[in-house]
Amino acid sequence: MRLLTTREAVPLLLVAAIAAVLPLLGSDYYLGVGFALFGWIALAQSWTIVSGLAGYISLGHVVFAGIGGYVLVLTWGAVPVWAGALLGALAAGLFALLVGLPVLRVRGPYFVILTFGLAEFAKYVVINIENALGRFGRLILGGPPLETLYWAMAALALAGTLAVVAIRRRRLGAGLVAIREDELAAGTIGVPTVRFKLFAFALSALLPGFVGALFVLRTGYFEPAQAFDPVISFTIVTMAIVGGSADARGPVFGTLFLVVLSELLWSNFPQVYMIVLGTLLVGFVLFAPNGVAGLFERRWRVRGAPASG
């Protein structure tokens, strides 16, 4: 096996280093920030598999986290905590497999709208089920302590980063990129487009299912409108765009940048917090479509070997 290249090693080491350092600061505040940071990294990496590599932009990725959280509370008490979280991940993957075949037949803006609509649809189904059962929010008492959740989430972030690195190296990754560049041409040179897209979609749902379960364990509370909140989907897309989604670096850079920035803004300038974030997103889309990772690359290229043409 080939050694890790810089662009593969940097995100992996960065995640591992942050995971190792934060607990040393000895405060629950940092563990909480780290927990959120790793959650977003895992979500953004998962999103990158289907949206960054294959170019199918999902605006409904929260649905997988919501399903994971819901399965966790449904199985709460019946199975051990971690088995419940694992079941949540599997349920999210299964859901992706089931809806993937029809959903992945459409491309571009239609796919974006369809994934958004599907997530909203799932949210209202769960809301109605809960109402019919007479449940208005479910409390989870006696979940694992924050430190345990922190390490679990760090492991998911590392797993997501590793997944993107591994997929990019394999035939699957090459095929997904070909699908993104030109799906008809990809099929014609032999890429099994339907199978690859479906597989990528299911893979991109597994970790978010797990993350959703951990989110519920952290808040100790499940409420459908919150667990399926579309803002979570928007945030995933924002982080991937700010970071650049061509490889595993983007989601790590983008998430780190946004989480740190919003923590700083939130504590120092709560009034302008959202305004600054919105301006940044517009700025990145307009001036740095390849994100933070792309900016680094450009700087490096200018200083290293000037790109010809």
């Binding site: 095929g175 990129v177 070909a178 560049e181 030109d182 014609t188 040179i189 032999g190």
Partner: protein, 238 residues
């Protein structure tokens, strides 16, 4: 090796192909002629599995290709280029070829080049390996179409107007390249070309389509003298 059996294709009420049948012999260079709209590219799309025919079937040896998805046709050893080029624009020329090398035919002919360098050399793209495919000239993108198709390790290579828009010197280079592909790799070639001289010079067999129907078939010299071909190309005498 390839048999086209009574292929028909209608788009709504428009008949693009009607009852087209022919056999492509192993290791031949097989030309397909016809005016614009004669149905040549539609025929390639049907053979490659990009389009389903309305009637008829295509066979590669004993294998029925009709009904298979494109990637299975590619796995069987059939590759095509696109007349309107479709490179993977965001990838480099080298990455385009490497991607095709990782997919394509299940059983590659022993003589098929196994590395990108060989293919880029053969197609004259070695100087552009690192450039993004989207930044190439049209002539280079046409060559990249050939390079990517070759990289799939085909037994049958379908070339759709790879010489259109080239200078006479480039046409000569391309003719030499096609001959080399057959001679060195033993690949059977089907070729659509508007450059008549090139097609006549290259082909062992020619089929002429007119409004979706076969109006002539045979060796180039014989087809060129065919009255039906002359009237289709030069107009009927009134």
């Amino acid at each position: 090796m390839l048999t086209v059996e009574r292929i028909g294709k209608s788009f709504g009420g428009v008949r693009a192909l009607q009852d087209v049948s022919f056999t492509v012999p192993e290791r031949s260079i097989f030309g397909i002629m016809g005016a614009n709209g004669a149905g040549k590219t539609t025929l390639f799309a049907i053979i490659a599995g990009n389009l389903a025919p309305s009637s008829g079937a295509v066979r590669l040896g004993d294998l029925r290709l009709t009904g298979l998805p494109p990637h299975r046709v590619a796995a069987a050893g059939v590759a095509r280029t696109f007349q309107i080029v479709r490179p993977f624009r965001g990838l480099s020329v080298q990455e385009n070829v490497e991607t095709a090398l990782r997919f394509g035919a299940r059983d590659r002919p022993a003589a098929a080049p196994a590395d990108a360098a060989g293919i880029l050399g053969l197609t004259g793209l070695d100087g552009a390996a690192g450039r993004p495919a989207g930044a190439l000239t049209l002539a280079q993108q046409k060559r990249l179409e050939v390079a990517r198709a070759l990289a799939t390790g085909p037994r049958l290579l379908m070339l759709d107007e790879v010489m259109a828009g080239l200078t006479p010197a480039e046409v000569q280079d391309t003719i030499a390249m096609v001959r080399r592909i057959r001679a060195d790799m033993g690949v059977t070639v089907m070729i659509i070309e508007h450059v008549m001289g090139a097609l006549m010079a290259l082909s062992d067999h020619v089929v002429v389509l007119d409004h979706g129907e076969t109006i002539a078939a045979g060796p180039p010299a014989q087809v060129a003298d065919d009255p039906a071909v002359r009237s289709a190309y030069l107009g009927r005498r009134h």
